[in-house]
């Protein structure tokens, strides 16, 4: 978290927001080339901004060792077991059940979070309609304590 409170430059803030807009509009992460084209800059410039957004501002997570986005929380660039489907058919992946619900909130839409019971393989669905969720007796499991959530970002 060192430096997490540093202020972003206006360009960093623009790129961060463009990442979210891309997820919302396309259901997938933008590549550095997508962002470079959008802002009419060299891809290397975007690479540097994305690194900065991860390392200084804790705003995105890159695929380890690579130049591609893994997460702009709550969105996942990689397919996961937690799919959020909006009522208009748009589809995104969340990093966990919490994030998949949050995707619908960030998108400002009703929809369904679809997953699979890891023990039985049974399909699970949680519906969001006008700010309420059903089934109301559904539950979510947190594997580790809150203090451990960011020790390994891929396992909470």
């Amino acid at each position: 978290m060192l430096g997490a409170m540093a202020t972003m430059t206006p360009f960093e803030a623009d790129v961060r927001l463009a990442v979210y807009r891309h997820f919302l509009d396309h259901g997938a992460a933008p590549t550095p080339d997508d962002l470079a084209a959008e802002f009419a800059v060299a891809p290397m410039e975007i690479d540097a901004v994305l690194r900065h957004l991860q390392q200084i501002h804790d705003a995105v997570v890159m695929i380890p060792g690579g130049r591609y986005l893994w997460m702009a929380e709550p969105f996942s660039a990689l397919p996961t077991s937690y799919r959020a489907v909006a009522v208009d058919g748009r589809t995104w992946y969340g990093n966990c059940a919490w994030d998949a619900l949050a995707v619908l909130s960030v998108a400002g839409t009703d929809g369904t979070v679809m997953s699979t019971c890891p023990a039985t393989g049974r399909a699970i669905g949680v519906e969001v309609r006008t700010g309420t969720v059903t089934p109301t007796d559904g539950v979510a499991h947190f594997a580790v304590t809150a203090s451990e959530w960011w020790r390994s970002i891929g396992f909470t």
Partner: protein, 53 residues
């Protein structure tokens, strides 16, 4: 896998909404530890398991 904790989806939904309510703001910044802990408290996730530090 550790035993962990189980919460209702209603609570999870409230947590999701609050935790990510500013992601589309141009001036977004990572919430501070105090702010994040306050959200957990507000949705009723209190106790040792839900302490961020």
């Amino acid at each position: 896998m550790p035993v962990g904790a189980v919460i209702g989806v209603g609570t999870l939904w409230q947590l999701a909404r609050r935790w990510y309510d500013d992601r589309l703001a141009h001036d977004w910044r990572r919430k501070t530890l105090t702010e994040r802990q306050a959200i957990l408290d507000e949705v009723g996730l209190t106790g040792e398991f839900w302490r961020l530090t």
